[in-house]
Amino acid sequence: MEPKLIELTLTAIQNLKADLDVDIPDKLVGDFALIDELDSMDLVNLIMETERLLESELGRYVALADDSTFDASESPFRSLLAWQEYVCEQSRNR
C-alpha cells in the first residue's frame, strides 16, 4: 500500500477527532473497527474528509462512497486496515 495514502487516511481521522462523538485512540491499530466505533454520520464525515484530502493530494476526485460502504459485511470500514486498502485501491482505479 502506498505510504502517502496510508498517512492520508490517518490524517483524515485525526482531522475529524474534534468533530467525532467517540474517543479515537492516538495510535490506531489495523483491526480498529471503524464501522463499530463510528456512527453513520461520522462515517460520512470520514469519507468526505478523506475524499477532500485525496483530491488535494492527487489533483483529481476519487469517489469513496458506493453501495458496499455501509454494508456491515462488505464495508471497507470493517477495520482500519480494510479502509486503507480500499482507499489505495480506489485511488489506483480512477
Binding site: D19, S40, M41, V44, N45, I47, M48, E49, E51, R52, E55, Y61, A63, A65, D66, D67, T69, F70
Partner: protein, 531 residues
Amino acid sequence: MNLLVLSDAVSKPIFRRSPSHPWENVEFEFDAVDQFEASLLQASHDAVLILLSPLTFGHAGASELFDDRLCGLLSAAERYMQRTSGALFLNMISFQDSVSSQNQLVERTRWASKINERIMNFSERHPHSVVLVQGSAWCPSIFNGQSLNHRSYGVMRAPFDASSIKVINAKYHDAFVAHFHPKKKIIFCDADNTLWGGVIGEDGVDDIVISQDYPGIHYLRLQQFLLECKNNGVLLALITKNNLKDIEEVFSVRNMPLKLQDFIEVRANWQPKSENILSVLQVLNIGASSGLFIDDNDFELQEVRGAIDEIEVVKIESRAVIPPHIMLASHPNLYATHVTDEDRVKHQTYENAKTRQAFSDSSETYEEFLTGLEIVLTVSCNDRNSIPRIAQLTQKTNQFNLTTLRCSQADIESMMDAGAVYSFRIKDRFGDMGVVGVIAVVSNVTEVFLLSCRAFGRRIEHAMLSYVRAKSESAVFGRYIESQKNGIAHKFCCENGDESSLGEIADGCCFEWVLESAAMHATHITIVEEV
C-alpha cells in the same frame, strides 16, 4: 449561541470551522436528514440554519409533493419564530438536474422560480428574522455538474463536493455574521485609482477614467456600490491626498454616481491619512472598529493600519480578477439584512449633527446652547410599529447602555406584554434624529435603558428618566451591568441612583432611581406623548 442545522443532505461535514470562517461563539447541533418540520416544531435554538439541496427541492419530478413539503417547512419555520426569538437562515434554490427537452428545461426552471418566490415572500413577511442565502452561488449550470455528486447523494445523501462545500460554508457564515454582528458605520474612501482611474494632479479632471468601458466600468460599479451602502445607512468619508479645489472640480465637472455631498466628511489635504481618519471618527463620535478604509496604495493602507488598531483596511485593485465592488459586496459587515427608515436618513442625520455642533460652538454658554436647540422629546409606550428600531438599538448601542441587553424583536414584544417599553424620538430645530432612546420597565425595573451616542450631550437621558419615573406610581429601580464600553452609563447611575437603597451601584445590582436629580437637568426639553 446555539445553532441548529437542518438539511435534506448530510450537513455536518459542511459546517466546519476554519480561520477564514471561524463561526465564533457558535455551538452547532445537526439533526437527522429530512427532519425539517419535526425539528422546527421542537427547536428552541438561538438560530436555525436550513440548507435545501438542489437535488431534492430543485427536482420537479413530483412537483405537488415538493410543494407540500415546502409549505410544511415554511409553516413550521413560522411557528419556530413565533415561539422563540430565533433567526432563520435559508437558501434559495437553483435548478439542477438533467433534462431531455427544452420544454422540460423551461418547466423545471419555472418550478425553481416558484419555490424561490415562496421563499422570498416568506422572508419579506419576517424581514428581521429570516436571512436569505443565495443558492446559485454553489450551483453552476446544469452543463457543469461538478459541484454536485449524484452518486454520493444516492449512497449517503451527501451531494456536495469539496469546492461547493467551501462556498456553502462561506455563504452561510457570512450571512450569519451579517445578521448578528454590527455593520460597518463608515467607509473611508481614497480617491485617485480607487474611485476613478488615474491621478487628478497628473492626468487632469478630463482624463481620469470612469466609464462604461473597461477598466473604467469597475470604478463606475464601485461608486454605485458605495452609493448603495450610503442609502443603506453606511456613511462615506473622502480621504485623499489632493488639493481640495481639484477634488471639488472633479465632482462638479465629471458626471459620476457619487457626488461630493454624498460624503459626510471630505478631507483633501497632505496630512497622513490616519490623522484625517481619526479626526473624522472623533467628529462623528464613531469607534474605529466601525470603520473600513479602502485604498489602492499599500503605503497608505499600512500607514493607517499601523496607526489605528481597530480599523479594517481593504486594498482596492480595479484590474483584479474579482472587481472591487464584487469583493466589497461579499463583505458580511457591509451587507444589510434589513434597512430601517433611520438607516435611510443616516447621512442627513449626521449632517444635522454637524450643524448642531456649529451652533454649539457659537453659543456663549452650555445652557444657552441647550435652550436654543428647542428639543422636543416624543414618547411612545409599547408602540408595536417601533419594535424593529428598538431591537436594532439594543443590538447596536454600546456606550450609554446600562445593561447591554441585546434584544430580538420577539424579546421586545415580550417586554411590551409584561411591562412598558418607552421609545423616545428626538427633534430639535436642526432636524429629526428619529427614535434614539429606549427604556423598558418590567416589574418596576428598567431592564433596558439606552440612548444612541448621537443624542449625547443634551441631557436627553435625564428627560427620559424623569418621564418614566413620573409615569410610575411606585419606585422605579435601575439595573447596571458593566461592559467594556458603558462607563458613561455607570456615571449616570451614580449621579441619579440612590446608593442607599440597595448598596453601592456596582455591576449587576439594582438601585432606586431618584426623580429630583434627573428632572432638574431636563427643564430645556419639551416632552410630548404620542397617542
